[in-house]
Amino acid sequence: MQIHKYDTVIVGAGGAGMRAAIESTKRSRTAVLTKLYPTRSHTGAAQGGMAAALANVEEDNWEWHTFDTIKGGDYLVDQDAAEILAKEAIDAVLDLEKMGLPFNRTPEGRIDQRRFGGHTRSHGEAPVRRSCYASDRTGHMILQTLYQNCVKEGVEFFNEFYVLDLLLQEVDGVKKSAGVVAYELATGEIHVFQAKSIIFASGGTGKFFKVTSNAHTLTGDGQAAAYRRGLPLEDMEFFQFHPTGIWRMGILLTEGARGEGGILRNKDGERFMEKYAPVMKDLASRDVVSRSIYTEIREGRGCGPEGDHVYLDLTHLPPEQLDAKLPDITEFARTYLGIEPYTDPIPIQPTAHYAMGGIPTNVEGEVLADNTTVVPGLYAAGEVACVSVHGANRLGTNSLLDINVFGRRSGIAAAEYSAKNDFVELPENPAQLVQDQVERLRNSTGTERVHTLRTELQECMDANVMVFRTEQTIKTAVDKIAELRTRYLDVSIQDKGKRFNTDLLEAIELGNLLDLAEVMATSALARKESRGGHYREDFPNRDDVNFMRHTMAYREVADDGTESIRLDYKPVVTTRYQPMERKY
């Protein structure tokens, strides 16, 4: 076991982690630990753009953006945070441009902007062009640009280091962060990183679904580590299903396709979104569009032999426009479906896309141990965190924004904390939990296989806690997850070696997914209302009296070792926008 000491440790090297690293490296001795290479992170898969009210192509302002974000989140958004997000968006985009990001340009040479779901002018009057973009690879360009600037700033990376535990120590009655424990993929060695401040920026947890736009590696490692150490997880029942994933594969086809004029059609060729969202039509918020697609499918208007999908129609758009604005997604259709989007509509279905919930933080990125108490020295940013700027449903282009605004904020805040505070002493045997976990899996002779359990989990989640949920389906999921968690204790792996043991890591990742799936289903069961991405057929209306509050889920361990989940609630921060009925 090696012990390292850094002022600031960042876990994850996607957009949020690298944006934080650029700030913290200038101010403190920083290490970035990532389970991949930085440029492999899933920020790179984001396509359509990053919202900011630059008003480069038409009238716009950050107040409209704030309103859209809050309405898009179905009033579960903390309004002070949304205001910061929308206000700082403008500098966040300009900063990226100055770092070198090759945005598409207007004829005047300014950053070009396009339409996106839920972004409107004058509080919902009509769509507005707010998304700043680089073709349909905006996330790729953000990831590359941030990595380039990390190289420029000399950011120190530990590549292929899996952070498996968070070390918290109680000092004078206050729970503080002391460090993290990481597993080095190349050697199997365990490393302890002692740090004055720690930023979790480890991304989402979409791999507990089967049809998902998420990478294989998005297994909620950061959320699970925090949760196991007694920190709460906020709003985990809210998961976004992106309307346009490639049928059966889940690969993302950007909402920018509809921003450019693409239309959703059912088997009769009907533009069905006109029925559900008369003003915004295909550019209504994602939760609304995904529900509409499934309503069409359930009512027998789905396409294909099994009627299980609908079409994204781009055939009326000029090929030059597709080549210039949507080259990657049109190529996906050609590569994976053998379909030519110039002439043929693309079969799509909603795909599990984004966790609105996560580790609760305040607007400085400080992690909360309960509704109000911060954990000194611990920060989180990006999809792993819940600020909450996305509430019950995130608007498209607000996640690339989130990682830049709150990545930067947490990078600065953590480095400043490191400058003013000393190291917290490490606990005795700091790597014990990870060593035990690794040894148990390496030595297990159990009969269960990781692949079997993971497949059963994914199928259960798709069937029971997707776009439509009822008490019965959620209970089915809760029971199934409990069964899988028991069977997980009997899981064994084939690779017993130390070198690049991805077999072992997949087993550990499955454990994380199971913990988080349980939190998600339990939180969903208790929320007896429909709001944003959480739709309960047995409670189809929003209930602001009982449920305009954030869920806070805690892991409890009884004296006899039995685990359970305790749910608590946290008020929503409301500044100037009172909840209204949500129409698009």
Partner: protein
């Protein structure tokens, strides 16, 4: 209103359900120094839908037959650059290669990309690759005070370097280059592509410096224009053309 071309798409969809699974043989080059210093080729037979990806096949083998089979992957749709490998002798991304497109009637060979040290099975040491990338100063360099708003750039100037911004650093190009195989000191196509991305960016002011770096004896002049890199690029970047443009810029000092 019926979309005019529904029929064609319907056909493509029908294909999805109907395709009979085929039995394919994957011949994989295995190496694990923890077990043996010897390299060996191992055959795996799997039943799979030929419209699936080579990455799906590798997962099937790892998950159902041999958990020790080791490879890198993440996004699974050609954007993260993790899973470049040599498939039937050509560099490709496993997640962007459909089994039906590589003649599954014969054994499909899969091995690590060449020119970088193999660490285990399909996993290679990427550090020299990223070092060459870092050596070309892959970041925007400007002088003077920054403007308050964005720097202006015409759509034409932006278009000038569009192709090379697509690079995902997967190393398919560099590890397909015979010059790189023979001499690992050569910067390799990927580093030159990333230098090109800045040399031809109208906002950048360090083109001369980058050109000097590439004027080195391990720089662009080592390129023998074999076009392997262009063929290998999963992003469709015209890599050889980019290298030629850098060479021309070195001669004319215009870019």
């Amino acid at each position: 209103m019926a979309t005019p071309t529904l029929e064609k798409t319907d056909k493509a969809e029908a294909g999805f359900g109907d395709t009979p699974y085929i039995t394919a043989t994957f011949r994989i080059r295995r190496f694990n120094p923890e077990v043996s210093d010897e390299v060996q080729w191992q055959d795996f037979q799997i039943s799979i839908d030929p419209k699936e990806r080579v990455l799906d096949a590798l997962h099937k083998i790892k998950w159902e037959q041999d958990g020790t089979l080791t490879f890198r992957r993440s996004c699974a749709h050609g954007i993260c650059g993790s899973d470049a490998m040599r498939i039937n002798g050509k560099n490709r991304l496993a997640c962007k290669t459909l089994i039906k497109d590589i003649n599954p009637e014969k054994p499909i060979t899969v091995e690590a990309i060449k020119g970088l040290t193999v660490l285990k099975d399909l996993v290679v040491d990427m550090d020299p690759f990223f070092q060459a990338y870092r050596d070309v100063m892959p970041f925007l360099i400007t002088k003077g005070n920054e403007p308050t708003r964005e720097r202006l750039q015409s759509a034409e100037d932006r278009e000038r370097f569009d192709d090379t911004t697509k690079c995902i650093l997967c190393a398919a190009c560099t590890s397909s280059c015979p010059v790189f195989w023979n001499d690992g000191q050569y910067f390799g196509p990927a580093a030159i592509v990333n230098a090109h991305r800045f040399i031809f960016d109208s906002r950048d002011e360090a083109g001369e410096q980058r050109l000097e770096i590439l004027n080195d004896r391990d720089g662009v002049w080592r390129c023998r224009t074999t076009f392997n890199c262009t063929d290998a690029c999963p992003r469709g970047i015209e890599v050889t053309k980019a290298i030629q443009e850098v060479k021309r810029a070195l001669i004319t000092r215009r870019f």
